[in-house]
């Protein structure tokens, strides 16, 4: 799971390292667009634009959906990866919490043990 989050981060930074891809994100931030629209706008071949969109899609920045012959791109991470990343962060929060709870419970236990060892008069 942690590996997966790390891999996703690497993919995210790699995806953003390219000026065209940043431009595509900015464009999709305004409205959804087809691969053809994007290729025209960035004066690129369809194949070239498909590659860029593929990189953004794998990094979770963009989702695409094919309706008929048109593939529409929109901004937003893939649902599943998004959910897994969220669950991992939530797990880390609870892990940190439970580690502190372990400490609190150990303290309580130690105090109880000390009290029991104290001889009663």
């Amino acid at each position: 799971m942690v590996q997966l989050v790390r891999a996703r981060l690497d993919a995210s930074f790699a995806a953003l390292s390219d000026a065209t891809r940043r431009g595509v994100l900015e464009r999709l931030g305004r409205s959804d667009a087809s691969i053809t629209d994007l290729a025209d706008r960035f004066q690129m071949t369809l194949t070239g634009m498909k590659k860029h969109v593929g990189v953004l899609e794998r990094a979770g920045f963009v989702t695409t959906e094919k309706v008929g012959r048109v593939r529409t791109c929109r901004i937003g991470p893939r649902r599943l990866e998004d959910e897994m990343a969220w669950l991992e962060r939530y797990r880390q929060l609870w892990e940190a919490r439970f580690n502190e709870l372990d400490r609190v419970v150990e303290d309580l236990q130690r105090k109880e043990d000390d009290n029991e060892r104290t001889p009663r008069k």
Binding site: Y90, W94, E95, F98, N99, E100, V104, V105
Partner: protein, 158 residues
Amino acid sequence: MQNRTTVERQSDRELVVTRTVNGPARLVFKAWTTADLFKQWWIPKSMPIAIHSCEMDARTGGGYKLMLSQGGGAPMPFFGKYLEVTPHSRLVWTNEEGGENGAVTTVTFEEKGGKTLVTMRDLYPSKQALDDTMGQMPPETMDETFDQLETLLGTLKA
């Protein structure tokens, strides 16, 4: 020794967290229901969150209120009611700060060999309510890298 913490979305409306805590259920329960103890672990030190106050009346029908602030911002309240308090075994409370989309939390404590398995179940009123919660990063987990990515995404979406 640190035990494994698991998190699972068990259904459209349910999130479940489990962890075995090194101690008897009696003490684990006490740490969940005593404000002074609760304050010591609910917000781990690694998080940039401050607890301003914590009031708990851990009885069936009682209430709780937690005031938290992040990065010097205004304190935010977290509050609800205890629907069930069964000493050393079960706690059920509502989370009302988010209005009607808040989850009902059920925590069970099962002791085995001096250790306690804690199972925490958050049941949301609808799939949409849980989806919405998961659409935002957990408020407690601030992380620069993710924040920057989120800020960037937020800017792009705007």
